[in-house]
């Protein structure tokens, strides 16, 4: 009996001590946890999100920790709960993955803390939560620009859509489809791709067989590059207008200049394409800190965090104060002017970028301002 009791005691102590390792310490200063996907298929975009937030928070009085949410709701909720262990959390930089956001919204409402994100998934601002603030034009905005550019500028009569089967892909595809129909040019071909698909020739062959005259992509970074490369290789000679992943320097780096040439993409903005001095300063600081080119996600998150910092400077000392400030104020960010539409959609403009010439830096060929009419 005694050895049994000793084992129970020893095991109890070991397990309790081991479990206690995860207990986190509380903080004294105001805090903005950064919860983003830095591993998994969204690591590229998530890292941009992290970098943008870090660039804004560095040098401020606000404390922050970065936690990886990977790509599952479970890990995102774990990270959120862990972050909320700390005191004085005034806002959370939340992941851009739609399914993770959908899992976090009830928690954010329960903890009553605002989340700032660059997620494009339309649904996250349609659930009635007062705690979602999207600092990237949602699908309602960018897909309207996407469809309008294809139809109005390129004269598309038979557009085709290739989208991802993730939440991001399904949300964007639905908006594209709706906008194209509204413009009187419904898609002649639509197909969803798994993230893991590497051979794009089958789906591109179907696009060619459909007689499509413009190909619209709504894919993540890697698949976008693969589709464009294989479309060029098979001689699919129709205009391609990709989603915002295309504008990312990392995506462009996966392609040869000849493959990029003529390709276009929608985005909220493109910091490397802008020529103003403030954009140059941002891009230089970003390169210096992270040794990479800034993209739209980084800039969106940078602006979002800066708006929260502006709220704090404006007197907000807790989560409720920050939320209230975000709901009721306009903010002139680096990329654009932000204001809530009442649902947490803060960005209302979009641009179309095209790779013109041998340069890997895309040029802004069309701006769609205040698409929602909020501003």
């Amino acid at each position: 009996m005694l050895p049994g009791l000793r084992r129970i005691g020893l095991a109890t102590a070991i397990i309790t001590a081991g479990l206690s390792l995860v207990t986190t310490a509380a903080a004294d200063s105001l805090r903005i946890p950064v919860l983003v996907p830095i591993t998994g298929f969204l690591s590229l975009e998530g890292t941009s999100q992290k970098n943008g937030a870090e660039l804004a928070l560095d040098g401020s009085d606000v404390a922050f920790d970065v936690a990886d949410t990977a790509t599952s709701p479970e890990v995102a909720v774990n990270a959120f709960e862990r972050a909320m262990n700390a005191k004085d959390v005034v806002s959370v930089v939340a992941p851009m993955l739609g399914t993770q956001m959908l899992a976090l919204i009830p928690l954010a409402d329960e903890f009553d803390v605002p989340m700032i994100t660059v997620s494009g998934t339309a649904r996250i601002t349609e659930l009635g939560s007062p705690n979602v603030f999207r600092f990237f034009p949602g699908d309602v905005v960018v897909k309207a620009a996407h469809a309008r550019y294809a139809v109005e500028e390129l004269g598309a009569k038979k557009p085709a859509i290739i989208s991802q089967t993730t939440a991001y892909g399904q949300s964007g595809r639905a908006e594209l489809d709706r906008n194209l129909r509204a413009l009187g040019q419904p898609p002649v071909f639509t197909e969803g791709l798994e993230v893991s698909v590497k051979d794009m020739l089958p789906v591109l062959s179907k696009v060619r067989d459909s007689g499509a005259d413009v190909l619209l992509l709504h894919l993540h970074s890697g698949p976008t590059a693969l589709v464009i490369r294989q479309a060029r290789a098979m001689g699919l000679d129709i205009p391609i207008v990709a989603g915002s992943a295309m504008h990312q320097p990392e995506t462009a780096a996966l392609l040869e200049s000849a493959e990029l040439l003529g390709g276009c993409a929608e985005s909220g903005w493109s910091p490397i394409s802008e020529t103003g001095p403030e954009f140059r300063a941002f891009a230089d600081a970003y390169r210096k800190s992270f040794n990479r080119e800034p993209d739209a996600f980084a800039l969106g998150q940078y602006d979002g965090v800066n708006m929260v910092l502006a709220a704090i400077r404006g007197g907000a000392r807790d989560a409720a104060g920050v939320r209230s400030w975000l709901e009721s104020n306009r903010y002139d960010g680096l990329a654009m002017t932000y204001a809530s539409d009442g649902k947490g959609n803060m960005a209302h403009s979009a641009v179309i970028l095209c790779y013109i010439g041998a340069d890997r830096v895309p040029q802004i060929v069309k701006r769609y301002r205040n698409v929602t009419g909020v501003l």
Partner: protein, 568 residues
């Protein structure tokens, strides 16, 4: 698993339970409580997976599918129809189990990697449905806003209440697993897993055992999926993703495949490990990977055995005269009539006929390839014949399964040893006694068989450590544990020393004296001379001669076939 094993499992579980209770109530933050809650969910999933992957030995990749079904049933029914936990939870378990029952027929026929691929395909199929059936499943976004657990108007709140609730269900799952995995059934699983050929011959129904294990794995998986959704409040395709399956597999391997404590250790460790290394930012996965690799290398059987120490089986009570069940007198022999069997172009049996009367020992000799083992396989139902039949007490046995034939009183041993290394002699014999449905008390039957085969002193020894001669006697002890009327011994004296041969011969004579009909296949003529009542010789799938020992050996056809000697 012996009673002592269970005792140690219980000690570990009590220690873990006390530690968890102390930690959860005194130290844990809401975040810590969430991680512990998730651990409890995974404990249930891994307990289920132990049935099919551990005990049944089948690499199922469908546990994630059952988990996902449970998750989606709860997510859809709970959020779309506002149905409460008391309905959604059992419904999630029921539909996951129903799915398992439906796919079991085609899937459980497959073995090894084919089984793994088929179960993986099930997972992928459900994932495609979940992603693309947007109107019902919410597509890739999934369904947010799954209601919390509500029991009779009491909402189980996040944090400690949900933690206690989930672990209460995990404890219930452990009790169910404990009840299902009683020692005799664990031994049956071991025999099925390690010696699948022999299992049916000792009353074990591999198909039924695997089916039951598959259903339990599905039920537990469905329950875990339902709780997972209540814990996360959203259901999405990630619940059907391969990541869940890999997590489950890793937890099972790291914790241990067989013991309840292994499920608890694996789930607790694997849910906490990534959290402990979060400080390493994007490198935490590397650290977790290295640690898991080290665990698998240094504890290949999982961590549970390290906590439980090596199992020591209970001591066999001293065999006394009153404990021994003497073999019952048999009244019906064996009739083999015109058995034929072809393997492609090879005719292994060609109308073989033979009778063995109760109390008679019939020796069967013949050159290699004559068809002796094929005859034994057809008599015991291991294989099906093309023509002819086998009868006992006027009953046609040829239409029965191997398990049914064994239970009807026809037992056998195998040419090559079919003993599971990790079971003790007593466990092997008692497993056969229980599964063959002996009418006498199992202890008496087992003690009787061990005493008759002079194995009482080896009863607690693991079969894997036994010398060849003793293993042969263990096989005979196991064969007679079901009190058979007919015994087929396939080369029991092969490789035995003279003394060991005499021991086997003594056993055969004692059994025959009690009325058992024995068909004794061997090449050792001295052994057969001292053992058999009469002798038969096979060649090219036929019985070419039978009769008294010396008469058969003197027969020119036998001499030509068996000794290669043509008479002048």
């Amino acid at each position: 698993m012996t009673g002592m094993h269970l005792g140690r499992d219980r000690v570990t579980l009590i220690a873990g339970g006390v530690a968890l209770a102390v930690y959860a109530t005194l130290f844990a933050s809401s975040y810590d409580q969430r991680i512990l809650t998730l651990s409890g969910v995974y404990v249930i999933m891994v307990l289920g997976y132990q049935f099919i992957f551990g005990h049944s030995g089948a690499l199922s990749l469908a546990q994630g599918a059952f988990f996902g079904v449970g998750a989606y049933v709860t997510g859809i029914v709970g959020s779309q129809f506002g149905t409460g936990f008391l309905i959604t939870f059992p419904l999630s378990i029921a539909l996951a189990t129903l799915l398992a029952a439906i796919v079991a027929a085609p899937v459980l026929r497959l073995a090894s990697h084919y089984f793994a691929l088929a179960t993986l395909a099930l997972n992928q199929l459900l994932l495609v449905i979940a992603v693309n059936w947007e109107s019902v499943t919410g597509g890739a976004n999934g369904i947010p806003g799954v209601p919390p657990v509500i029991l009779f108007d009491w909402q189980v709140g996040r944090g400690l209440p949900l933690l206690v609730f989930v672990w209460a269900l995990a404890a219930a799952a452990m009790l169910i697993a404990h009840w299902q995995l009683r020692p005799s059934r664990v031994s049956s699983f071991t025999v099925m897993r390690e010696t699948p050929l022999a299992a049916p011959a000792f009353g074990i129904e591999p198909g039924l055992l695997r089916f039951r294990a598959f259903l339990f794995s599905a039920a537990f998986g469905g329950a875990a999926g339902a709780l997972f959704v209540h814990t996360n409040r959203v259901v999405s395709p990630e619940t059907l993703g391969f990541g869940i399956m890999v997590t489950c597999l890793t937890m099972t391997v790291v914790g241990g495949r067989f013991r309840i404590a292994g499920a608890v250790i694996g789930a607790l460790l694997l849910t906490h490990l990534p959290e402990w290394f979060r400080g390493l930012d994007e490198y935490y996965l590397v650290a977790v990977g290295f640690l898991l690799l080290a665990m698998v290398v240094f504890a290949p059987n999982g961590l549970a055995p390290l906590f439980l120490r090596a199992g020591e089986p209970s001591r066999l009570s001293k065999t006394i005269a009153g404990d021994i069940e003497p073999p019952a007198k048999s009244t019906a022999g064996l009739v083999i009539e015109g058995l034929s069997k072809r393997y492609g172009g090879v005719r292994a049996l060609d109308g073989a006929s033979l009778q063995v009367e109760p109390g008679e020992i019939v020796g069967l000799i013949g050159p290699n390839g004559a068809g002796k083992t094929t005859l034994a396989n057809l008599v015991t139902g291991i294989e099906r014949g093309d023509a002819g039949h086998v009868e006992r007490a006027s009953a046609n046995l040829s239409v029965l399964s191997a398990t049914a034939i064994a239970r009807s009183g026809i037992a056998r041993t195998f040419q090559t040893s079919q003993l599971p290394d990790e079971l003790t002699v007593r466990q092997v014999v008692s497993t056969a006694a229980v599964n063959l449905g002996s009418t006498a008390p199992a202890d008496k039957v087992v003690n009787g068989a061990l005493a008759l085969c002079k194995l009482s002193d080896d009863a607690d020894t693991h079969c894997g450590t036994l010398p060849h001669g003793v293993r042969r006697r263990v096989e005979i002890a196991r064969a007679i544990a079901g009190d058979p009327g007919v015994l087929v011994l396939d080369e029991p004296a092969a490789g035995l020393a003279d003394e060991e041969q005499r021991q086997v011969a003594d056993i055969c004579r004692a059994l025959a004296h009690a009325g058992t009909a024995i068909l004794l296949i061997d090449h050792n003529l001295e052994f057969l001379r001292t053992s058999v009542t009469r002798l038969a010789c096979m060649d090219a799938g036929r019985i070419i001669m039978e009769g008294p020992f010396d008469t058969v050996l003197a027969d020119p056809a036998v001499r030509a076939a068996y000794f290669g000697m043509a008479d002048q």
